[in-house]
Assembly symmetry: C2
Homo-oligomer: 239 residues x 2
Amino acid sequence: MSIIKSNTLKNIPFFKNCSDKTIEALSDQAQIIDLEKGSMLFSNKDKAERFYLVTKGWIKLYRETIDGAQSVVDILNANNVFGEVALFQNDTTSFSAEAAERAQVMSFPLCILKKEIENNSNLTMDMMLSMTRHARQQDQEIENRTLKNASQRIGCFLLRLVDQRKTGEIVIKLPYDKTLVAARLGMQPETFSRALNKLKDQIDLHVVGREIRILSLQDLTKYACSACSSEFPCHDIKS
Amino acid sequence: MSIIKSNTLKNIPFFKNCSDKTIEALSDQAQIIDLEKGSMLFSNKDKAERFYLVTKGWIKLYRETIDGAQSVVDILNANNVFGEVALFQNDTTSFSAEAAERAQVMSFPLCILKKEIENNSNLTMDMMLSMTRHARQQDQEIENRTLKNASQRIGCFLLRLVDQRKTGEIVIKLPYDKTLVAARLGMQPETFSRALNKLKDQIDLHVVGREIRILSLQDLTKYACSACSSEFPCHDIKS
DNA sequence: CGAGGGTTTGAAGTGCATCAAATAGTGTGG
DNA sequence: CCACACTATTTGATGCACTTCAAACCCTCG
C-alpha cells in the first residue's frame, strides 16, 4: 500500500499520459519531503536519482557561483514537476533547489520515468512540449534582461500573472515576497522597490503590501511591453 | 532525382537516426537558399512550414522589438539545424532568422519531420537531448547577463571556443565580426571594444584583428569564470 | 584610390548596485 | 493581547558599468 493515492498523480498534467502501471510504481516509491523556508532540497553537485513534484509552497531553482551570487532559474508552486531533465544530462542537474518558503514536495525515482519514456511516445511528446515552452520562456527572459529596464520587467511580470482578457480595474497579488520577485527578475530588492515606485509615477497603480491594483491594463501594456518582441504583449505562456 | 545526395544528410548529426525513407523524402523536397549578408530568411511572424540546415556561412537567430532593438538568440554555422521546434509550437517560431554574412541554407518541409518523429523514438530522443543542451545554454546565458560584467562575458565566450585541454600559448580566431560577437553577448560594440581592452590589462592577451593570442588559459579562466556556477569553468556544452 | 562598413576613442549621461540606516510588518513567547 | 525579535521593505547617498552620441580611424574591396 503506497503512501499516496495514484489518483493524486493522475490529476497532475505531467503524469496524465503515464501508464497505470507506471503511476502505480511511482506511487509505491514516492517519498514526501517537508521543507522549512530556505532549506535545500538538492544541489547541482549531487548526483540526480530522483525527480520532484511540488505539492505545497514555493520551490526556488537557482544557480550559485563560488562567491555566493545567485541566478534564479525558476520558481515553482504546487503541481509543477522539476528535476526530470537530469534524464537527458547523465543524471546531473545544472541547478540547485531550495524552499522559498515552507513547502512540501514529493520525490520519485528517475529510473521509473526513464523506463516509461522509452515506451510511451505520448509522454515523450508531453515532455518535448513542456521543454519547448520552457525554452521560449528562457529566450524571453534573456530578451527581458537585455532590452528592458527594471520597471518594464516588473510590468511584464505583472502582466503574466493576470488574465489579459479582463478589463477595468484589476487586483494582482504577488505570488511570493518582493525580495524573491526581485531575484526572479534579476535585480536587487532596493532596485525593485524603486522601480515599482517609478511604475506608479508612469501609470495608475496602487500598491498595498503584496497587492497591486491596476486601473488600466492597456496603460501597463503600453509602458512595459514597448520593449517586447514576439510574445507581445506579455502573457502566460501555456500552449 | 533530388538536388542533393542523401549521403550529405546522413553525415549531419541531426539526421543520423532518421530512417532511409525519410532521408530520401527530405532530400527530394530540399531547397537550397543563398543569402546575402543581412537578408532575412524568415520572420517570427511567418507561419513556419519548413525547417533549416545551415550549409555555409553564419545565420543569426534573433528577436526584435517594435522599435528595432534586437536580442540575439543564437548564431549558427554549417551543419546546424534550426526552426524545427516550430513542430511543438503550432507552427510558429519565436524568433527571426537572417544571414550574418553571405550564407547558404537548405530547407525541408516540417511535415516530413513530424511524421518521422511520431514513429522514430531514436530521433525523438536526439531532439530531447539537443533541446536539453540548448536549455542549459540558455540558463547559462541568463546567468552570464545577470552576474558577469562585460569583460568576463567576453572571457567566457573565448573559453568556449577553445579546447580546454590545450596548454601554453593559444590563438583564438573570432568566428564572426566583433559587432556580432558583441550582439551575441548582449552588449554594444563600443562596450565590447573597451571591455576587451580591459581584459588585456588584466591578463596576458594580444589582439590583432579577429585573432586573439592568449598566453595562459588558466589566467583567463581565473578572471572570467570567477562568476560561473555549475558549468565552471566555461566550456563548449556538447554531451 | 575612394567609399563604406567595421572598430576604436572620447565625453557625457543613465540605470542599477552597493552600503547604510530607517521603517514597516510578521510571528513568537509571555 | 502586548512586547520583542527578526525579517522584509523602503529610502538616501554614492559609485561604477554600461549606453549613447559623436567623431576619428582603419581596413577591405570594388
